[in-house]
């Protein structure tokens, strides 16, 4: 009967992960996106529903639940209805291999597949089928163009994305996501800065690989500056132009689940996943004092009364608190000081913030520029990086 218990356990975990996706990635993700977008544009973002507008996305969801589903007469009904579910499920399946942390000997991951990152890449590219299905079945010209653009974009960026993943697999010598984090724990440094055998001299290669991966990941999840498939100013809403109510929300859910999953994978591959940054105590207290200085300056000058400065104040207070806790923890010789999921989530949200920040920094690319960037820049750079790093660690500095 252990089958049945496994199936029940898996079903329960699905519900947990799905709820996590709906609440953390979709609701908090949309809230953060609107709030941060607001601050970057010197406005306040949502602020009326709940404290600081925290319940805005809950209200939006309730509203969307009451909206009528309109299926265009011309559409292909079956595919039209299946497309949003496909996108949402593809977003969910990514999270099977994402480890959230380690408590004692137990790694908090749904399943540590031995081909983890390959599985991740495969599931991430499943989204394109849902998007193409939605775009095509709507029988709407905007939607079709959006779907086609999305397909060509996603297949083009699939290669640089895979090259970034391969680079990490090559260094770590494993495809398992847990294994990649453990490889970083073993050598005592993130792959972004430190490689085995090369030590910190490997930093340029690590940073290059991380940039290639992040660029490709941004394109893969259709975010600005690669948001041509849903370019509002040219294609209305692209492939989901015809979708209303909760179906639209499912597309959004899938998209945010995917974007967060990409950020999570980048954190695992390049930023050491759940590992705690291994800094000496004096550095922690210096950082903490710098943050305290920012807080004091904001309070003295009265700048903190400005609602637009307030987020900086809050971030500085949180940062100062973190640094002080870390300082005393390291002094007391505790390791790790904080529970590992805290670090994983911090890294993931930092990368999500980076994605949102990019959205308001770069203008949208044209389709030919987009494809050029993938095939003529990222692909050769990714391949060369792979070859040079491989050459250095097998031939020049052979173990």
């Amino acid at each position: 009967m252990d089958w049945l218990t496994e199936i029940l356990k898996a079903a329960l975990l699905t519900v947990v992960v799905f709820t996590y996706l709906a609440v953390v990635t979709a609701m908090i993700g949309v809230y953060l996106e609107r709030k941060i977008s607001g601050w970057i544009q010197a406005r306040l973002g949502p602020k009326h529903v709940g404290p600081q507008g925290l319940l805005q996305t809950v209200a939006d969801t309730v509203k969307l639940l009451q909206k009528e589903h309109i299926t265009p007469r011309q559409a292909d009904v079956l595919i039209f209805n299946a497309a949003p579910i496909m996108v949402a499920v593809a977003g969910l399946l990514d999270w099977v291999v994402i480890p959230f942390g380690r408590i004692g000997e137990r790694v908090l991951v749904v399943r540590d597949l031995n081909i983890g990152v390959l599985y991740f890449a495969a599931m991430a590219s499943l989204t394109v089928i849902g998007i193409l299905a939605g775009g095509w079945s709507s029988n709407n010209k905007y939607a079709l163009l959006g779907g086609l653009r999305s397909a060509s974009q996603m297949v083009s960026y699939e290669i640089p994305l895979a090259l970034g993943i391969l680079w990490v697999a090559m260094i770590a010598g494993t495809l398992s996501t847990v294994g990649i984090v453990q490889a970083q724990a073993q050598q005592g440094g993130w792959f972004l800065f430190k490689l085995p055998q090369l030590d910190y001299a490997g930093a340029p290669f690590g940073i290059l690989a991380a940039l290639t991966f992040l660029t490709a990941a941004t394109a893969e999840v259709n975010r600005v500056p690669f948001d041509l498939p849903e370019a509002e100013s040219e294609l209305v809403a692209g492939y989901f132009a015809e979708y209303t109510g909760m179906r639209f929300a499912l597309f959004q859910l899938g998209e945010y689940a995917e974007a967060f999953a990409m950020a999570a994978l980048a954190a695992i591959m390049f930023l050491g996943g759940w590992l705690e940054p291994n800094l000496p105590a004096w550095l922690w207290i210096t950082l903490g004092l710098a943050a305290v200085l920012v807080v004091v300056l904001l309070l003295i000058t009265g700048a903190s009364r400005d609602l637009l400065i307030r987020p900086i104040l809050i971030l500085a207070v949180l940062g100062a608190a973190l640094c002080v806790v870390m300082f005393f923890g390291v002094q007391a010789g505790r390791s790790p000081v904080l529970p590992s999921p805290v670090w994983f989530l911090t890294k993931m949200f930092a990368l999500v913030f980076f994605l949102i920040w990019m959205r308001w920094t770069y203008p949208r690319l044209r389709l030919d520029q987009l494809l050029n960037l993938s095939w003529k820049v990222l692909l050769p750079v990714g391949l060369l990086n792979l070859l040079i790093t491989g050459f250095l660690i097998t031939v020049v500095r052979a173990p």
Binding site: E6, I7, A10, A11, L13, V15, V17, F18, L65, Q66, K67, E68, H69, I70, P72, R73, Q74, P84, I85, A88, L92, L93, V96, V110, D112, L113, Y119, W136, S138, N139, N140, K141, A143, L144, L145, L148, S152, V155, S156, E158, I159, A162, L166, A169, G173, L175, V236, M246, A249, L250, L253, L367, L371, W375, K376, P380, F391, I393, T394, V395
Partner: protein
Amino acid sequence: MPKVIVDWLYVAVFAFVGTIMAALPLGIVWLLAPRADLPQKTLTYESGVIPFGQAWAQFNVRYYLFALIFVVFDVEVIYLYPWAVVFRQLGAFAFFEMVIFLLILLVGLAYAWRKGALEWT
């Protein structure tokens, strides 16, 4: 049970239960949301004008071209995965063999580039 079967059992259950979970809100909508049929409402959206023809028509052939190049490189990448996992143990020999494989593929990329298959215009 072997670990690998349990692993994929989980993936299968995730896909199955995930589909149900995703369809659930659609069911709630079916219960809650109003339904009113109007001929204008189910018309395809085309910036407010009556839609002209079907969207299921011809589209730019370049989309196929990129799909074809993609297939070549995706297969290449799939071959690279097993290599990447074991190449630390195999050492320099495996590395140079893969360099030869990649160079052949890069010739393919250079050819497509030169022929203008990577240009959108």
